[in-house]
Symmetry: C2
Subunit: 364 residues, 2 copies
């Protein structure tokens, strides 16, 4: 069954491509898993078999990112969006919080944050239409803020940054939905990292949180239990039934990354893929264009426009016919976007750049 | 691949058994779905293919339950537990709300509700250790309550009821996690029905809401968007990325129920399964015992104890060896529990009752 399947190159921004090996393993054991007499979909999260899986997945993630012992790892639900609200509820209810705006998603986080906390813009590149990151000297940081919120990779605007000013005692909380696991990371620079799974981690419906345990003491005791990070940490992400299949697939993705050579190897591949695609864009003589300042171009999400937007539909139709899927840009910025997450092989980007070159020759 | 798999009879309370047909379909298309060139796990929720799936699933659910036009159907995340908090946040922030306590889960809902609203116990069978449902004459209802919260099936205590007093203009909000789709239902009696998927609907990580649209006007505009039922309804459950694979599997489960003959057929089978198991318990001469008042015995979750608890471990070990899984009772009540959701066939219950009879003969 499915020995031959017609899988195309998938550049979706999320839910996104998963490693084919992971899908094949999941397929093989979808009816019966590890001799349990049932699918992993059908097992209690409190049973021995699932508990072991859960621990293995966490251990694998901790190895990949060298997560320090004093950080908790949580497997929760709700998408990053739920956490736009839960972060201020847990850490800044009625208090001040700083936000750095570098695109669509940091704006959304700021707006939700403002419904709970005294959210304040510490820096913004909105005036540039989010094609850059505010220079450190322009960051107006509040030393009394409960946290500073960053979005190190903007999935829609294709802006990425991994350096930031020394923030003293103010914890950095970073939405890394579209960049976590794409390269090594110094976890200790962050108070909390969170990421929706549907990019580099697994299927939609799972959110990873990596957070310094001492911050959990700030979670108000008056919060409903289900909104409290402290309660989730105390219960090992099993305060309620977790999204078990998503957790299982995420564990398989972590193991796949380890087999490939870890985050150093992901970095090598992702750098290569990004270089290939940006070179094709920049070398097209203006046929294609990416507006982002080169130092802040995302490795993961590459938006580009055609000089002649009347060719957009033809480009997408022909790309699809060449087995190049999901290249339409987000409605907020238009044009095209190729997302190059870990599961997208270099060969897929080569197929894309070949097609782009050919298309430009025929229509340039 | 997997032509022969060793699947046992699975009595898990949730995540629970899924129809084998559904799992086989999902397995068949796990690498490539509907000619899309990718797994359904890898597709954007905003693409045509997934949007069609989402609409098909909702239409199927609406047919099954004859959901009136003026009710919205939402596919959300967070487990029923998240909604213990969101229900008062949306409908009773700072206002009064009534709760009827009939077991472990209604107590949890009440406690979370009390952190947001002036939650009040309108009736409780706690004094009986939750083996019955308070008689209607004892319900002390507040005509000014924002809602009355009911738990028509208590998954742990095995108490079920589907009738309730006339509540006038006060909307009934019902946690039907473990009973929705087990039999026909008059949706119009409820202001809102909600259910975690991992019993009769699909995998963990999805929650269904069926709610009267006029109630959405009560959702405070000051709520963070992601916590607002009004915003979720306005965006067709796609305010953020939904748990796409869970939605897909739920759609397959709905279609499977329709093929089986709909909720009338589920009711016939579920009644038969419950009758078989309760008859085996009651006819065991006291070897097994279910404490619940017969009129309120759950069709879905059947807790039972052995007169001699020193046999518990042996019972579980032998059951497992007979291919009868997940019979251990919840830690809150101990003993055994068999959950008989839609995907558990009559033959599984026959195998269980045969084993129980044999075990009692050997150890009675």
């Amino acid at each position: 069954m499915n020995a031959i399947v017609a899988r195309a190159h998938n550049f979706s921004a999320g839910p996104a491509a998963l490693p084919e090996e992971v899908l094949r393993e999941a397929q093989e054991e979808l009816l019966e898993w590890r001799g349990e007499g049932a699918s992993v979909l059908e097992l209690s999260h409190r049973g021995k078999a699932f508990m072991r899986l859960a621990e293995e997945a966490e251990a694998s993630l901790r190895r990949l990112l060298a997560v320090p012992e004093d950080y908790a790892v949580l497997f929760l639900q709700g998408g990053a969006r739920l956490h736009f609200a839960l972060i201020p509820m847990n850490f800044a209810a009625g208090a001040r919080a700083d936000y750095v705006l570098t695109g669509y998603w940091s704006e959304k986080a700021f707006k939700e944050g403002g419904r709970i906390s005294e959210a304040r813009v510490a820096a913004s590149s909105k005036h540039s239409r989010y094609v850059t990151v505010p220079s450190f000297s322009a960051w107006d940081l509040d030393p009394g803020a409960a946290y500073v919120h960053l979005t190190p990779n903007e999935t829609i605007h294709g802006v990425e940054f991994h350096d930031f000013p020394d923030l003293g005692a103010v914890p950095v909380i970073a939405d890394m939905s579209s960049t976590l696991l794409s390269r090594p990371l110094e976890v200790r620079r962050y108070g909390m990292i969170y990421a929706g799974a549907q990019k580099n981690i697994g299927p939609a419906g799972l959110v990873l949180l990596i957070l310094r345990r001492d911050l959990l003491e700030r979670c108000p005791a008056t919060l409903p239990e289900i909104l409290s990070y402290r309660r989730h940490a105390e219960e090992g992400s099993m305060l309620n039934t977790p999204p078990t299949f998503a957790w299982y697939l995420a564990g398989k993705v972590f193991a796949w990354i380890e087999r490939q050579g870890g985050l150093e190897e992901m970095e090598r591949r992702n750098r290569r893929k990004a270089e290939l695609l940006y070179a094709a864009i920049d070398g097209s003589g203006g046929f294609y264009r990416n507006p982002v300042e080169p130092a802040f171009r995302s490795w993961m999400n590459v938006p580009f426009i055609l000089a002649d937007p009347s060719l957009d539909e033809l480009f997408l139709r022909e790309a699809q016919a060449h087995g190049l899927l999901a290249l339409k840009g987000h409605r907020a910025v238009g044009g095209m976007r190729a997302s190059l997450y870990n599961a997208v092989p270099v060969a897929a980007v080569e197929a894309l750049t070949d097609f782009m070159g050919d298309f430009a020759r025929r229509h340039g």
